[in-house]
Amino acid sequence: MSHTVKSFRIKQHSVIPGFGITMGFTFLYLTLLVLIPVSMVFFNSSSIGLVKFWEIASSERVLASLKISFGTSFLAALVNAIFGLLIAWVLERYTFPCKKIVDGLIDLPFALPTAVAGISLTTLYAPNGWIGKLFASLGLKISYTPLGITIALIFISFPFVVRTVQPVLKSIDLEVEEAAACLGATRLQTFIKVIVPELLPALITGFALAFARALGEYGSVVFISGNMPMKTEITPLLIRTKLEQYDYAGGTAIAAIMLIISFIMLLVINIFQWWASNRHK
């Protein structure tokens, strides 16, 4: 009986007091910073009515932009998950000269104004740019295509996976790998069966952060995408276009759609992440 009562208690005894005040502050903070601004989006878009809302949501241009936004963001997050893991591995497992400097470089995409990143990437990857030239000779165009958008998104969301995986990688005991080797596991088996499962929660977290960051990115993409409706127009840009035309309801309606989809996707990722980190508790 006492056990059931216990499980319903929210507050647990702790040596550090202040449950009431910190919990209250958390709710206030989240409300002011997240809940109110986000609900304003729904509030504004609701003024146009459901029919109009649906009309905007199902218009070809909006659907195309959503496809590009979610597609390129997903791809960018995926690429970052793979290569971010690799970089985290190199930084944690090996020593080499200037390691601290390389480690510092990781965070640079966060510090750089995104417009600067967008302009430099566009110049580099344009058909007459340094890197773009090489691909142009192969008949591959990067700037002003979804590929260019993906590259910009990879750049701006790159630090997340590295920084979430690094501490977990550091905490993995080398002895565990040695134990696997003693049991006859090959290096690949040790990596896949022993190390990846331990890293998975952090990797998913990093992926989710990178994905969310890429979805909201605007500054760098507008330069490299070329902003052709139906082809390389991302949703945040479409929203801005609507606002510039004083179509506030239309803009917020698209924003609302994007929010709903993002929320569902992040929720799914979070549930997956929760599952990955709790299955052996």
């Binding site: 005991d173 040695e178 134990a179 003693c182 006859g184 596991a185 499962p197 331990e198």
Partner: protein
């Protein structure tokens, strides 16, 4: 499988961890590598397992040179001090790991794996915990699972790195008895590393005592305990009383204590140290000739069948530790502050210049 360690040397940066180690471990033996921390015992174990590369020398398993083989190919069971269990796997999956990672040709069927894992769970008496995760187990349970995991691949050699080091005293004692019994039943050639002399004396067939990267002595527990070859081994294997004095033509003098030492007849007025275990100290209430030293009792611990006494020599103030039976203690009616007469019943004399502690 026999293990031959020949001429193994290992240096970390400038620190010489192992220096020309030669050691032969016979098939089915349980050998303890005993030494203080930094003596190189764990390094030697890791070199046998292939987890560490030696700078020179060779490791030979059953006459075959294994020096260049990888850990995966050596087929040794290794048990780590901190268990090194796979946290995200259940107990069952942990034990099954060694079988599941085999190449598909050699991999047993699911039923066989199941059977084998349950056999081992029964062996370590943990059948009911198969579905638990390591975080839900106690230290002793984790170490038993680690052992079961190492044994599932039927290794020809079992290596244990301070297997009981992280456990509390009671569990430690139980587990080491259990390991001894297990070894008697399945005599796999085993090497275990420990810094606990009691553990080594209790469990091993033979003890290898290491110090500063060198082997000091190899022998059965009785041999090394009763006949330590040098002061280090004497000191390391248990409590000891030191008497500083001099030897001249087979006569030793330690303050007022005079003893005959026929093995040092050729010694001419040399500084010596005599080593005596506390249980080899004889206590009398009255002085009898020159073989006794007067000492004052300063501490008595009379718990259990053995009574520990601490005494202070009257002549030079050095401390003497003694262990006597409770019966003897009662007969002598010893009290704190009492002056008694003490004599080493058994002692070893080492001339310090030959040995450095």
């Amino acid at each position: 499988m026999s293990i031959e360690i020949s001429n193994i040397t290992k240096t970390f940066d400038s620190f010489k961890a192992l220096n020309n180690i030669h050691l032969k471990i016979n098939t089915g033996e349980l050998v303890a590598l005993l030494g203080p921390s930094g003596s190189g015992k764990t390094t030697l174990l890791r070199i046998i397992a292939g987890l560490e590369r030696a700078d020179g020398g060779s490791i030979i398993f059953d006459g075959k040179d294994n020096t260049k083989k990888t850990t995966q190919d050596r087929k040794v069971g290794f048990v780590f001090q901190h268990y090194a269990l796979f946290k995200h796997m259940t107990v069952f999956e942990n034990i099954a790991f060694g079988l599941k990672v085999r190449p598909s040709k050699l991999r047993p069927s699911k039923e066989e794996i199941n059977k084998k894992v349950h056999e081992l769970l029964a062996l370590v008496k943990m059948e009911e915990l198969a579905k638990r995760y390591p975080s839900q187990l106690s230290g002793g349970q984790r170490q038993r699972i680690a052992l079961a995991r190492a044994l599932v691949v039927e290794p020809k050699v079992l290596l244990l790195d301070e297997p009981f080091g992280a456990l509390d005293a009671k569990v430690r004692k139980d587990l080491r008895r259990w390991l001894r019994k297990l070894h008697d039943k399945y005599p796999i050639t085993s090497v275990f590393v420990t810094h606990d002399q009691e553990e080594a004396l209790d469990v091993a067939d033979r003890i290898v005592i290491l110090n500063q990267g060198k082997i000091e002595q190899i022998g059965t527990p009785e041999e090394v305990y009763d006949n330590p070859v040098n002061p280090f081994v004497y000191n390391f294997l248990g409590n000891v009383n030191l008497f500083h004095g001099r030897v001249h033509k087979g006569k030793a003098e330690f303050g007022s204590l005079k003893l005959d030492v026929p093995e040092h007849l050729e010694a001419r007025d040399r500084q010596v140290v005599s080593y005596t275990r506390p249980h080899d100290i004889e206590i009398c209430l009255e002085a009898q000739g020159h073989e006794f030293i007067a000492a004052e009792i300063i501490f008595i611990r009379a718990i259990g069948p053995i009574v520990n006494l601490e005494m202070k020599r009257v002549d030079n103030g050095e401390y003497i530790e003694a262990e006597i039976s409770k019966e003897n203690y009662r007969n002598l009616k010893l009290k704190l502050g009492q002056i008694v007469y003490v004599k080493p019943r058994d002692f070893r004399i080492f001339i310090p210049e030959d040995y450095v502690i």
